[in-house]
Structures are given as structure tokens and as C-alpha cells.
Amino acid sequence: MSNIPENAPNHCPGTQSEDAGKASACAGCPNQNICASGVPAGPDPAIELIKNRLSNVKHKILVLSGKGGVGKSTLTSLLGHGLAARFPDKNIGILDADICGPSQPRMLGVRGEQVHYSGSGWSPVYVGDNLSLMSIGFLLGSPDDAVIWRGPKKNGMIKQFLSEVEWGELDYLLIDTPPGTSDEHLWGVHYVAGAGVSGTSDEHLSAVQYLSGAGLSGALVVSTPQEVALLDVRKELNFCRKLDVRVLGVVENMAVFVCPNCKSRSEVFPATTGGAAAMCEELEVPLLGALPLEPLLARAADSGHSYLQLQPPGSQTLVAMDQILDKIVAACESTS
């Protein structure tokens, strides 16, 4: 996250500052129009609401990537099912915060379900006895409908999601996010993590100020092995660091492919720069494991079946998932 563009003059107050575009240094800066167009805002009462709403949720985990299509949603649903199966007495929730392309309703096989609003908030949809889901997908009419919302409205929606879903008691809440260091992210981090600090700050300013709160257990960062993906993921990790969001670890997805015909292994997305392992070492974050490129997993996601229930014999994916879950659970338990 760079607050001071390279082409800015010496005394640039920073693109996120209240004076962005208006300080005396900004006169003549090529970015002045851009910076001056930012809208200032006041303290946000939603922070308190969200804090209260999520106070019954023990572990809140953001699933991030930076790069699109690397499997955040697939991993989120796999882990959701995995946690629910592992802990039959605990409650698991999934919040699909991808308001432009929500995929959880399909992946979890609950497309077309109705969500109900009662006095205490939106009731999530139950996927299993102890697994529930809330997604913007439930509020859209036809599959062709696009949610064309600008930043502020989107933020409003996410705020609403965080503050108005009646989750009940949850042990784990997994939050599936849209790709990129986009607005949605900032807001998710800002509100979840901020549960704990009251609204003393300007919400338009950096979200960092809210992050001293104990809201968020941490982030799971998903990547694929090739450099084009790692490039974006590095930025995402940097972003977490700047915002003081703990990185629970990185999961490398689509790592190897085992040919169903000859059983030989190949790299479909070549790790020309050492893959996630090298990146994790360089940036000193834990690598939680690697999931293979598994056609059955893609099929399960499309059809809304739980991959666990397909009981694929000798599945590398399940072995890997279990190890990843062990580490996530351990990391979450160590903080609470």
C-alpha cells in the first residue's frame, strides 16, 4: 500500500490523508484531481453495531488472495465443510462478501434459497446442521442480474452483512472475499477487525486505526504457483502487514496435476519462481499446505456437492485439507 505516489512532490501529505489533493504541496501535482475527488467522512456508528453482532463469534477468518480465480471460494467452502465435519458440536458460518460475483450459494448447493429478515436480523441459510451461509447471492433475482454498485454502496452492503446477520453462537466464521485489494476488502477488514475500537477515527482514512481491536483471528491467503498470481499475492500480504492483520498462513492451490490416465504428475501452472514456498520464506509467513489441481473438486463446486461426501478414494486433497485445518485450528486456539 503506497500512500505517496512516485510522481508526487516532496511534501505530499499522502493519498489517504484528509488533505490529499488540497495541501499546498498538491498544487501542480499530476495527481491533484484524483486526490481532491476523495470524499471525507465522519466516524461510523456501524463499528459498534458490528462489534456487538460478532461478539458471539469466536474466530473470524478472512480468506484473501489478491488474485482472482485462484480458489478462495472453493477453499472457503471446503474448509467450511471440513470444520463442520471435524467439530459436530461447533457451529460454523460462511459469509460470502463477494458482492459482485457471489459463488457460495452454488458451491454449497443452496442456490435459490430464501433468506428471511426478522426483528433480530437476517437469518442465514443452513447448509448442514452446523454450517450456515449468508451471501448477497440470496438477495439477487436472476443469475443474470449484476450488482452494479459503486464503492460507498458496496460498503453499505458489507456493513449491513456484518451488522445484521443473526448468526447465533459461532465458533468459526469464514469470510470469502472478492479478489484484489479492493474496497470490499478494506471494509471487511476495517469492520471486522475494528470491532473493539469505537468510532474515533475518520472512516475514510486508513483502516489501520481500527485494527488494534481484537476482532479478527487472521487471514488465510490463497495463491496458485505461478508468478503472475504470486505478484498479486505478495501485494496482498503486504497489505495485511500494513493493516496489522495477522496472516494465519498461505495455501497454495492448483499445485500439481495427477493425470487420471498415466498417473504422472505435472505442473499445470508452472512455479517458475519457486511457487508459494519460496514466497512464504521470503516474506516470512507460514505455508499451510498445498492442494492439488483436482477435477473432482471443480465438479463438486459446480454441482454444489460437498467434496467430503464424494469420498474420493485416496484423495490427496483431503489429506492436504486436514493438515491445513490442523494448522488453522491451532493458530486460532493459540490466540483465544
Binding site: M1, S2, P5, E6, Q16, A20, P30, N33, I34, S37, G38, G66, K67, G68, G69, S73, C100, G101, S103, R106, M107, P143, D144, D145, A146, I148, R150, G151, P152, P178, P179, G180, T181, S182, D183, L186, H204, Q226, E227, V228, A229, D232, K235, E236, N238, F239, F257, C259, N261, C262, S266, E267, V268, F269, P270, T272, P295, A298, D302, S303
Partner: protein, 262 residues
Amino acid sequence: MLENVKSVILVLSGKGGVGKSTVSTQLALTLKERGFKVGLLDVDLCGPSVPHILNLENENIHQGTDGWVPVYLDKEQRLGVMSIGFLLKSRNDAVVWRGPKKTAMIKQFLEDVYWQDLDFLVIDTPPGTSDEHITVMENLRQIPQCSAIIVTTPQEVAIEDVRKEITFCRKTGISILGIIENMSGYQCPTCNECTNIFSSGGGKSLAEISKLQFLGCLPIDARVGKLAGQGLAAVKELPDSTTSKVLNDLVTVLAESIQNGS
């Protein structure tokens, strides 16, 4: 705006990671190999990957008298490239510009780059019907020579998002040239067996449902993946690959469309 550009091609999808940047760069490289003058604009403000793919990571853009001067891939200046990536200091930096600032940044990207005369300007967009999208679309809808290519992968989860994108184009009034399916199948390098990792046929049936032209299927090809980072054209390095054939056919379609248009 963009008066000197004969044809503006927006590369879109609804879904992330379907390979838009790979398609955009390979398309721009193919157009260049076929003798056109081409510009490539990367409007992904959060994750610009074009500089890496084209091996231009250490280049800078300059402010000239007529606007920002793009980075040229070749001495003959047949392919000019503009990306927010050139403005970032380190590859690990992410620009976290909020909505309104992003909008202004994109406007500047569209208006203030000095492209010279171009046959094609290929625009690589960030995923989703995001702010970036809306801004790009709003600015380009008035331009008569602008049309979109939609990239999808074959599976349902992707197709679903792409349908939203098609609706979005129709609402905005941007004409759609057609649909291209990426990552169709994977050929095992050992036994040559082709596995449809992400199922198959989704792009074609989507084209039929939406009454759009189907522009072809690009397989998952690890060799093409490895070209990323080197700035090499698939049509030159791997002339016999399916990828090259599909790209060449696509360029033929585009070439006809500018002939008919002008």
C-alpha cells in the same frame, strides 16, 4: 478522447483469474506480429500484471508535452504499453486508492496517454463489475469504435459471473464481439491424454444462450504460461499450438471488423 484509435477492444470477464491478462497480452502481441499498430492499457489498479507478463517491470513512463508516453515493447514502436504498474515503486506495493480516487485515476489513464495513431487499443480490465469497470465503461460507451471480448472458463461458477457481465455490457450499451473460452482442457505432457479439468463446453453454450459469436477455445498450456515474464508472442514461439491458431483466427475477425467499420 482516443480519436486516433481505430478500434478499442475491451477484454472483460465477470470472474477473476480466467486469464484476461494473458489473453489481452497475447492478443496485443498477435496483432503486432500481424503488422498492426497496437496499444495495450492495463487498468487493473490493484493487481497490474501486464508489466510482468511483458517483461517490462523496470520501465518508467514519462510525462511528455502531449500526455503520458507509453512504454514501447519494440524499437519500431508497434506495441505501446501503459499500466499503473509503471507508477509503483516495488512489485510488492499495492495501491489502495478508494472508489472516487480510482475513478479519477482511470479517467486520467484513458484520457491522458499519448498513444499516437493506433489500429487497436486493447484494454485489460480488472475482474468483476467493480468500480473500475463502471468507470471504464462509462467513459468508453460514447466511443463508437469500442467493443468487448468476453473471456470465460468452462465451469458453471465462472459462467454465472460472466452472464452478469454480459447483462452489464448490454445495460451500458457496449457492443460485444464475442466470447472466448480459456483453460478448456489440459494435455498430459507424458501421455497426451486431454483432461477437462474445469469441465468443457461452457463458453460455447453460453454464446448460444446469449446469442453471441463464439471466438474459440484456448487450452491450458503450460508452455504459454511460461511465456509470461518474457514478453514473447505465442504465435511466434509456439506457431503450431492450438493457442496460436485461436489467436490468429481472432485477429482475422478483428481485422475484418475494422475494415468494415472504416
